[in-house]
Symmetry: C2
Subunit: 581 residues, 2 copies
């Protein structure tokens, strides 16, 4: 490609609404252009990146035996009523009425459409397993679209759906996709982690997120320094504390703590470690009567160490809390504890509550908690001696850096990530709802065991930028750069020698299949270099009259701080060598 034949449109300033770096840089580099809130045109420079992402994904999906199709953007509401999602999904599902006032949706994913294909076309167990995927435009009507391609409303997603005879088959299909995803993300040239994720109502361990590591990532991801263990924060398990509880050493003492309503304040006031305090969180569950009215409210007290945070996903798995819970209201708290939040604790309750202690809290001795009296805490609290053992002990906290890894290998560390892929075992959730069955070997109809597997095609370039940039702009990995090599001739219009050398190198690299762009726009060197550093092409060759007189040109990788002089006769081989590496 020659730059004069392409559309290069860089900006000095990022738009005011671009809050994150990838949004700023993609806009400034002319890769995307906003058409409306959360709706972007993929400009020629950006589309080249997206197409390279698509090509890698497509190649590996095909290699893994998945079969490509394309399902409609606009889908009948009728179909979405069958799965129940038309009714249950919130306003992020964009609903449309056609000229005949019939309901349609703009697809955010395609479980319904693909299950409709399966129930028509996959009639026998002999046709299974099958995995159908598409790379297609999606829409999610975010309340507050922002961050450019990171959280847009219209986006491109690769979504795959596997159909199997039974759970064992579905798990094999899932593992095949897990391997394919690793192959895909390895090829992108990005640092990433596959982390276990919570699989919600389906249960089991079969859900993983693929996270691109970036300091600006919105997800906290947890990994072990001593093993392959990795999970997202929702899912990451804290290791069970070692050994039995020590014997109590302190007497139970009520202590004035005026105005100190947080564990941190209390620890500071008393001169004790934060880890000696216990945080009280009050939840409520409701039992309904036959008419769907609340018949009984059960109040729960959850205890986590003062330096820990409660993990709602884990709480939702505690027996009794696993059918849904809410935070207790202030009147409910007053009724049971006799005081307001900030001074709560498990001793001296007005009315009984169910007590759930985090595993770490269950082994504490001589701890500190609220006295259920404003401006007072209790120190030297001990299980068994001062209060009964808790009703339940469970892992209900977020892990923290330095925790022992749950597999016993090394310690947990935490970093930030951007989710760009998610694989998920679905079970028969959709196939049962939509009556999608096949005839099994025994001649009986059975619902398909399904899995679904997504990759955010247009989100990936944004994540790549969050991970790879500097103050001058983007730094693309070779695999997904809009162009791999840029040739910058200085004074091409004045010097025949420069023109000949530039055109010659351009032709030679193209011949070798290198995705090279020749900047023949006639820009001045400063502006030309600034453009390509902003755009982030990884390899640059600069050809000038002065260097050529000595038979030399310059090579600079986008991460290099300075250019290297290279004999003109060796530059093509050098560039090709760099790309092969």
């Amino acid at each position: 490609m020659k730059a004069s034949q392409f559309l290069i449109s860089t900006l000095k300033e990022a738009p005011a609404d671009a809050e994150v770096l990838s949004h700023q840089l993609m806009t400034r580099a002319g890769m995307i252009k906003k058409l409306g809130a959360g709706i972007y045109t993929y400009m020629p420079m950006g589309l080249r990146v997206i197409r390279k992402v698509e090509a890698i994904v497509r190649e590996e999906m095909n290699r893994a035996g998945a079969i490509e199709c394309v399902m409609p953007v606009i889908q009948p509401g009728e179909l979405w009523r069958e799965s129940g999602r038309f009714q249950t999904m919130g306003p992020e599902l964009l609903r449309v009425k056609d000229r005949h006032q019939r309901d349609f949706v703009v697809q955010p994913t395609s479980e319904e459409a693909v299950t409709d294909i399966a129930r028509q076309d996959l009639r026998s167990y002999k046709q299974l397993p099958k995995n159908l995927y598409q790379i297609q435009t999606k829409f999610r009507d975010e309340r507050r679209p922002r961050f450019g391609l990171m959280r847009g409303r219209e986006f491109i997603m690769k979504d795959a759906y596997s159909f199997d005879r039974d759970e064992a088959g579905a798990k094999q299909s899932y593992q095949k996709m897990a391997a394919a995803y690793r192959a895909i993300f390895d090829r992108f040239g990005l640092r990433y982690r596959a982390v276990a994720a919570d699989s919600g109502a389906i249960g089991g361990d079969l859900s993983e997120e693929f996270q691109v590591i970036a300091a600006t990532g919105e997800d906290a991801i947890v990994y072990s320094t001593g093993s392959d263990y990795a999970a997202n924060m929702e899912k990451a398990e804290s290791a069970a504390p070692q050994g039995p509880r020590r014997a109590p050493a302190q007497p139970l003492t009520k202590t004035p703590t005026p105005g100190k309503s947080t564990c941190a304040d209390v620890a500071e006031l008393l001169g004790i470690p934060l880890a000696s305090t216990v945080k009280s969180l009050v939840l409520a569950t409701e039992a309904l009567n036959g008419a769907g009215e609340v018949a009984k409210v059960q109040v729960w007290l959850l205890l986590v160490r003062g330096d820990h945070d409660m993990n709602e996903i884990k709480v939702g798995k505690v027996p009794g809390l696993d059918a849904g819970f809410r935070f207790a209201t202030v009147p409910e708290i007053m009724e049971h504890f006799g005081t307001k939040p900030g001074y709560l604790g498990p001793i001296g309750l007005k009315k009984p509550v169910k007590i759930v202690a985090d595993r770490e809290v269950a082994v504490m001795v001589d701890w500190v908690c609220g006295a259920n009296e404003e401006d007072f805490h209790i120190t030297g609290v001990n299980w068994g001696r001062d209060l009964p053992e808790p009703d339940a002990v469970a892992d209900i906290r977020n892990v923290v850096a330095g925790d022992a890894a749950p597999d016993g290998q090394g310690q947990l560390a935490i970093e930030r990530g951007i989710e760009i892929g998610h694989i998920f075992y679905l079970g028969t959730k959709y196939s049962r709802a939509m009556e999608a069955t096949f005839l099994d070997e025994d001649g009986k109809p059975k619902p398909f065991e399904m899995g679904c597997y997504g990759i955010g095609i247009t989100r990936l370039p944004a994540a790549a930028i969050e991970q790879n940039h500097d103050e001058r702009g983007i730094i693309w990995p070779d695999a997904i750069a809009p162009f791999t090599v840029v040739i910058c001739p200085v004074g091409m219009d004045r010097s025949e020698a420069v023109k000949t050398a530039a055109e010659g190198l351009y032709a030679e690299l193209r011949q070798a299949g290198v995705d090279v762009i020749l900047d023949d726009r006639g820009e001045r060197p400063g502006a030309m270099f600034a453009d390509w550093e902003l755009i982030g092409v990884p390899h640059r060759v600069t050809i000038g009259d002065k260097g050529l007189k000595d038979g030399q040109v310059e090579y600079q990788h986008r991460r290099d701080t300075a250019a290297t002089k290279v004999p003109a006769s060796e530059i093509a081989a050098l560039v090709k060598g760099r790309l092969a590496a």
Copy 2:
């Protein structure tokens, strides 16, 4: 590809709603699957065809210097208000409200979005010309979607938009696209014609349709047997009649024609050629006053030969009729002619009307028309002698087969076509409405001169099928076949020799870059052949145990009536030779 790894889903019967052959065959061959009215999933087999169409289009568009981008499917209504299309387009424009009740449209084309890019990014004449294109999903909410991909609601279109400094540049860009379109359609391997089309309000000759020839096509297209002249029926010009009018030979005679209100009936009754009769059509134009009310109605009588049809597009270019016209009402006709339609003519009017004669009518002598009296016609009518010369003489009829070509070279012939491409010079229609300007060399802002260029990507396979099929199914041209070659092993599960030969040929053809599928499903020969004939793979190799014993396999092109025996050692070379041809 091995068939067992792919999704092959053929049907014996076409769905009841499939009216046209391509819809029936694409559904039966498992290429498309209906999700809703006019909304189809592109199934794996169909998607392969679509991707090949896209690849050819993309390659030639790039070669012609057009630059690919992707504009959003969902576009802000605000932008569409700027061009006026939000207000003026009918219900075929699918309008959506987002969660904040803001207006959006689902794009049917992208003039607004691309003009918005141009006005931001093309700032100087130095950046021109530029041609931006996309291959993207479109939606048109047809009242009665039907014919499968031929007239669907959701479809994929390649739409390109050129931006130039001036009209001369725009016309060059147009010609470049015209050449690219010929290159594209040549590669598809289909019989097609590029025909001149009417360019509506923009004027000039710069509009061409690309029509795939098919007996079932909905458009009539006109071409010369003696030259390159070709146009659609709306546009095709009739040659001016030769020589002066002959002298009158018959007296003017009123003749009873009871109940004969059509030219055909009158010609039959009188025993004269239909070409001696003249058809009367009554139109009206309205002049409005300052308040937008109808101030004056002008009635027009249009005369075409009895064997000809009026062409409304041509009528709309007659001075006085070019600002819009309607058919006259029965009261208007009674008022001016004194009788009802069926017996109208230009002689003996109650009130004056403007008379427009087709060029053929203007040279007629001794002709027959209505007497403006029920059940009577007049014979022996002659211009000048019996009535004044017409107010205007113009080409206002559809051409018919056998007409002289307007360029004087040969005769016109008519065939049916399916429009799959359209190129159009737009002028400054959108750039003026949206204030899209660039700075010209003189430092002044000027509106872009634009052109637009479409190809119906998903319509093309349907058109290809309408042109190429037989009673057994589809016959794909090599360039866009889902697979180019199918290997059908007979008894692969029973015979090692068959398995080895089939796998060997499969590997060899794949190695040579041939898009080959090996049918390893274990279907019986009859079902297997029927599937591939329905799907329409152009080249088939059958490998059976019996033939192999004599060292032979069978080759059959989809158009061949029988298979040819070929030595097994030569089959790969033969197939490769057929593909290269």
